[in-house]
Symmetry: C2
Subunit: 624 residues, 2 copies
């Protein structure tokens, strides 16, 4: 990996930072955040501006360029990668280390008095703008919005914004029509006494209209905004996608509809002026609801007195609670996904053990091949983490030719992968050994398994937030002085983003919404030993009501049901470390895998994979 040479580009950027064509007054610093205008986690190539200007293409990082300096803030996952990818023009700011200044403090230390710091107001979330602006102002500087994105002005071969065809989802997938979703949204708006709701997150637009796209890799979303009033629906979207008869029919664009359900289609780029017009027409007590993570540009379009900001939107919360059709779709998707993985693991055992010719990349490609054979397969849901031996200890590893290792009978293999099917999204991690694991490897695997079971089998009161369950996943590891440095679970979309809010299981966040029956999260504790191996066991689990002996204050209880039904390698389990409850959990789980996935393998005529499944789901036995 050689660094990107950025000298010329930085020179150009510094020129436009002073050009009256783009800025009213010269700016002394320009901030280039990671995100897109929708604050997406995964972004399209045209939005990879920070990677373009710096060379560093990790998922998190903020670049700041001043007349003299260029600096990049990123976190511990990316210190090595950023150092490799950036040339000497750049200073790496290692976030989380004690001596690393914040962006604000650094700016204050390097800027001449009374400086102007520019940023694209569409890319910076309103809450970040507020914090940064306050800090700069108290030091005598100004944060200013620069309307035209300055990176775009020098990025001559910038890829076009994707504008791919849409997929319409009928009621059998979504369970609720877009009309009924609008009705429900308007009733939430009435409850909070707001007249308008602005949909800014891409997965929220997709969910609301029961549409999917492929503008962003792995995330079946499309570039659009929506503004919902009590009597109007405006959808801001580009291209000829609205010419597609299936889409027109789905959105009833050509039907005679009650006016409050008539969708007005408008150009994607007109959101700002339309929202400003809405803002200008408001009278006191008429509020506009926005996410507090919406861009500064859209937030500012609404006069402050009329804004109603919340960390989670009603769409985000409604989307998280899956209805019966979505849940059934997720079940089907996970069955198909398990079929593909049984095929893969059976194939790996046949290839790795005797031949030793399978690399991490070959294994990942084979996994995709098996998945793509399944009905309604669309694409992967994230970049496959296929890692063996020491690569398994790199939590966000993705095999590339430079790092690609060959699977062997001597190393632990970790596969974290998932797919988008039209009926659901999957995300599963299995850790296997194709030879004979050491006692220590089995011991660590078993602690991780105990943590996985502790969460999966946990019973907890209705209204409990997921972060309160995080320690359950760690307890067995903690008892032996071990731990893992990531959260335990994230929300999972239904044929939508593999990471979604507002729920999760992590010690790091306390702003999560309480778990409710119908929510779907991952359960993925791990253990990683730098330079040696990585272990992770991940199922996607559905929150379901739990039957309990008593019912304190009539609150009711919840627990989880695994949707993922892929065998957990028993060879890696030290049975002596399991309690009876854990022992029974594994056997019950494997019994269910055998029944449900066995039937589907049978149906699909995949007899070899079925034999593998039967062998891998043999009940554990206690050696007395």
């Amino acid at each position: 990996m050689s660094p990107k040479i950025t000298t010329e580009m930085l020179k150009q950027l510094r020129q436009v930072m002073k050009s009256p064509k783009y800025v009213q007054e010269p700016i002394q610093a320009y901030i280039v955040p990671s995100g897109d205008a929708h604050q997406s986690e995964y972004i399209a190539p045209c939005d990879c501006r920070r990677a373009f200007i710096s060379g560093f293409d990790g998922s998190a990082g903020t670049a700041i360029v001043t007349e003299q300096h260029a600096a990049m803030w990123t976190d511990g996952r990316y210190f090595l990668q950023a150092a490799h990818q950036m040339d000497n023009n750049w200073t790496l700011m290692k976030m989380g280390l004690k001596d690393t200044p914040t962006q604000e403090d650094w700016l204050v230390s390097v800027l001449p008095e009374g400086s102007k710091v520019g940023v694209d107001p569409f890319i910076i979330p309103a809450d970040q703008w507020k914090r940064m602006s306050k800090a700069l102002r108290s030091a005598g500087h100004d944060l200013v919005p620069v309307k035209e994105n300055l990176i775009d002005t020098i990025w001559t071969d910038c890829p076009q914004r994707p504008c791919k065809p849409l997929i319409t989802l009928d009621l059998s997938y979504t369970g609720v029509s877009w009309r009924d979703k609008i009705v429900a949204l308007r009733s939430k708006m009435a409850e909070r006494k707001v007249l308008w709701f602005v949909v800014t997150a891409l997965d929220e637009v997709a969910w609301l209209f029961n549409l999917r796209g492929s503008d962003v890799e792995y995330n079946p979303v499309f570039f659009a905004y929506a503004v919902i009033g009590m009597n109007t629906i405006r959808l801001f979207i580009d291209g000829d996608r609205m010419m597609d008869p299936a889409v027109r029919e789905h959105l009833q664009l050509d039907s005679t509809l009650e006016p409050e359900f008539k969708i007005q289609v408008m150009p994607y780029g007109s959101i700002l002026s339309e929202l400003q017009a809405v803002g200008a027409g408001l009278s006191p007590k008429e509020k506009v609801w926005l996410s507090d993570k919406a861009s500064y540009a859209l937030t500012e379009a609404v006069p402050k007195a009329y804004r109603y900001l919340t960390p989670y939107t009603p769409i985000c919360i409604a989307k998280a609670v899956k209805n019966a059709s979505e849940t059934e779709g997720m079940r089907r998707a996970h069955i198909k996904d398990a079929v593909a993985l049984c095929e893969l693991f059976n194939w790996l055992e046949k290839e790795v053990v005797p031949k030793g010719t399978v690399t991490e990349i070959i294994a990942a490609d084979k996994a995709e091949e098996f998945r793509s054979q399944q009905k309604d397969f669309v694409e992967l849901s994230f970049a496959t983490i296929s890692s063996t031996g020491p690569n398994g200890a790199i939590i966000h590893y993705k095999p590339v030719p430079e790092t690609n290792r060959t699977l062997s009978v001597n190393e632990i293999y970790l596969l974290d992968s998932g797919a988008q099917y039209k009926d659901g999204t999957t995300d599963v991690t299995r850790t296997m050994h194709f030879g004979t694991p050491s006692a220590y490897e089995k011991e660590c695997f078993t602690y991780v398994l105990k943590g996985h079971i502790a969460v999966s089998a946990a019973i907890f009161p209705n209204g409990t937030k997921g972060h309160l369950l995080d320690s359950f996943a760690r307890s067995a590891l903690w008892d032996c002085g071990l731990d893992y440095l990531h959260g335990t679970g994230h929300g999972v979309g239904s044929f939508l983003n593999v990471h979604e809010g507002p729920c999760g299981i992590s010690y790091k966040t306390f702003a999560d919404e309480p778990l409710e029956a119908g929510m779907i999260v991952s359960d993925e504790p791990g253990y990683y030993e730098d330079g040696s191996f990585g272990i992770r066991i991940e199922n996607v689990v559905l929150v379901i009501p739990a039957e309990t002996k008593y019912n304190f204050k009539n609150r009711g209880s919840l627990t989880f049901e695994p949707l993922t039904l892929v065998p957990i390698q028993t060879k890696m389990i030290d049975v002596n470390l399991l309690t009876q409850k854990e022992f029974d959990w594994v056997n019950d789980y494997h019994q269910k895998c055998r029944e449900v996935i066995g039937a589907e393998l049978e149906r699909q005529g995949r007899h070899e994979a079925l034999r593998w499944l039967i062998q891998e789901t043999e009940p554990l036995v206690r050696v007395q």
Copy 2:
């Protein structure tokens, strides 16, 4: 309990709210918070202004009086009590209920345009002022500081501010001299580049100077402030307490000292003007460190640009980590406390069972009597919760003649009590049955015990925050659909406040500081059934390093050691519900109680109580 008649007092208060003698312009509302000028949890009688004006004397509540209305905000613990204690002049605002307005919203709804809302700037913490002031301003009103407390102007028989003699603590108790504490504090100040530190919390002043007082019931503190500079020490304290030769000697007031250790004693009331003088003399980059909970008055005394505010002060954090002398003192205090409780429980068994003449109040008094026989006993550390049967389900119960029940062989008895000894502070809860508990009572008790053990025996990495352990205490209850609606633990002072920050074990707070070896917290899960019984098992536990098999990233691990050594009634335990680990924990704990407390009972010649201890610490046996 008949309500206090407040008509006349409210009339007087409304007069002074318009009197130019006290306010520059008439105010339309006056806020009476709960606290004192030090934001103390327990307050002196002269600071019970809210109770004086309203009649409601619960520990939490805010009164607001306008020209037309008088309203009281309090939480669920006090709805009943407040309703009983207040007359018809008052509207009860039930906090936590959906339809209850916030104080700000209510003020906005009742005030005429452009109103002024007054508050004593010494009583309101700066962070609360900020929130309230912002909300009022955005509605066109003003929050204004009223220098003279308006309640005090009408409270003709207001008790005097206490000014009791001080206790000096020598090195054998404190482990560190006040000089060395000042040196350590100044080094923390240098680290953060601040020149001044303002000590506002009463327990922080007491800890810093190794002094104790008795100005507030249960809390061995005294009214004082301190301002520490890099070369000066100012102690603001009233009365002739500084005339006491022992205190003069302890503080070396008459010795020839390096100037930076010379304590300047100043009147308590001069803190504001002195701090204003400090603030006025600052040049850029000279900061003053204050708690963000310090009063608005003191915070405002320092110009905004020079303030350095943190949620926890360096004294709060240093105080929480007990040194060897303090830990040994706490051990001694807990041994003496256990002796007193063995005497009490032995006495109760002899009195309750055959005679049935012991009431909750008699039992509480007897507990105090036994404690007062122990060396270095000073006072109780909080109002004893002595509750039998349904009273046990009232979590903050304190027996009064109207509610006083007689202990019997048919009901569960819960005693939550503690004391201040010169060498340490105790807080212990035991739940007992003097007859034959039902299977259900035993079942609930055993779940609570399992939760208690889960926390007490937990092993967790260095740097873990206490709130991450809270779910461990609930897991056994959750499994059966049960729970309790309070936190699991709080920090405990060393001959200081029985509740102290910055650590604790609760699902409710995330601002706690990480647990460190030497910190001391309580471990007190419970279960409460309204109208029937209450169960709580509470030990005070010391955070200690844990030996683990492995040591991930060299972080080290921690666990707890119980300081409380009082038998847990085995009659209440359903042994079949215990795991082997829990079973062993109980037997090991009782073995330790028998050894340590047995030796002390022997030494004190308390043979009957010793016999009781031996009987109560018989090992559990499994019925096969």
